[in-house]
Symmetry: D2
Amino acid sequence: MIPLGKTKFTTELQVRPDDIDLFRHVHSSKYLDYVLAARFDQMERCYGMSMQTFLDRGLGWVVKVSHLEYKRALGIAEKFHVTTWIEDVRGSDVEVRFDITKADTNKTACTGWCVFTLISLTSTRPEPIPDDVLAKYAV
Amino acid sequence: MIPLGKTKFTTELQVRPDDIDLFRHVHSSKYLDYVLAARFDQMERCYGMSMQTFLDRGLGWVVKVSHLEYKRALGIAEKFHVTTWIEDVRGSDVEVRFDITKADTNKTACTGWCVFTLISLTSTRPEPIPDDVLAKYAV
Amino acid sequence: MIPLGKTKFTTELQVRPDDIDLFRHVHSSKYLDYVLAARFDQMERCYGMSMQTFLDRGLGWVVKVSHLEYKRALGIAEKFHVTTWIEDVRGSDVEVRFDITKADTNKTACTGWCVFTLISLTSTRPEPIPDDVLAKYAV
Amino acid sequence: MIPLGKTKFTTELQVRPDDIDLFRHVHSSKYLDYVLAARFDQMERCYGMSMQTFLDRGLGWVVKVSHLEYKRALGIAEKFHVTTWIEDVRGSDVEVRFDITKADTNKTACTGWCVFTLISLTSTRPEPIPDDVLAKYAV
């Protein structure tokens, strides 16, 4: 396989009102949504292959494992950066690591990793990652 | 068309932590989600045709209009009832009215109505409501 | 009261993966979330008084009525504009109208209006809108 | 400290329409919401101290780490069980393990663990777990 460049890409996002919980902080499950939003953006903008393109090819990415460590809560309407990179590729799986940092202080809000599995939309079973995708993900 | 019976059906639900907003009340957009959850339940349990059955027949329901009047906020883990009935059927549209009431006091939390449109999943265009569905909805 | 200028303000947003429903379109309840996200942005950026400032003064805005008409579905990762303006002020209530338009075609995705009520956080009862807020909202 | 009984408690829940993603399965971040919903239920029903009681005492629980392994997707309106137990208590932290199983087949949908930290609502800093809470959690 092509060696992984592990290039880091960053997406800026902002907290929405529906993300806020009873402590007036971002609700814990929303951080994974932020990672997914950043990946969708970066798949198109940075790796050159959008989620829609995968769907059009009969492929989809599903989450196999998510691991999040919450460090500092994000607050109402706060701006933040989601940096992700591909740490490893194993069969149909891609391990993505991420850091979510506060835009104003650059301090870590949340850090962790996910394993995503490529599936066939027809069989819903894991699918080998096509070579052209591997090439794009090697950046 | 068969006259509408306008029978009211009720589903009991409970507030989830992810529904709570910065005021420690249910976030405004979640009340529509409660109506949809009750309709999915009642489509299967009360009208005898689940959302999945519609999908299997190549049909889907989409929201055309939603109108909600918020009366009393629901709180953390609160139990409540969602009562809905079909007020009118017009072409591909069904007008559903609803009342959301607090389980402990029976007071109204939210009231309103939605118009749902039946669509074909292939064309994504409005589709005449099949006669067997009209018969079920006439209860 | 100061006459209302009814100036329109616009916020650009993008669909997140957690907004997508079983039809691969934005889930109906998320459009209200988009309106609220745009209002939070515009309260700070356009009217000069953020939600946090209201909270710091012991005040909050809650939704009294929401009315949404869904015209064209937004899709995966789609960019869109939320334009809002203050149509009327009545006692503790502000009527806000909105249009959500697709960024690429400028066609309407959703249109409607909300009534927001200013409340005291301590009493949770409606509160007269302070004169300095009325002045800011008259733009 | 009192030895932990590690008693397992189970809550039955049902998938809501707003939980469904573009693959017509439950969106990945919602499984954490299901765990939190089950914990809120079990805190009140099984451990005898509701989240509201913690809030009334000036205390709150926040998520420090979440780790989820997704095994089988839950689908539209599917019923499922969330079983949780306290595996360990360390200072202000409680490690909760969970299994989410399908109601019809009893097969695992998702498994994992969370660390929750008790905080003071005034300082927002970790707070030693009071003895009466430790006693309740030792079941």
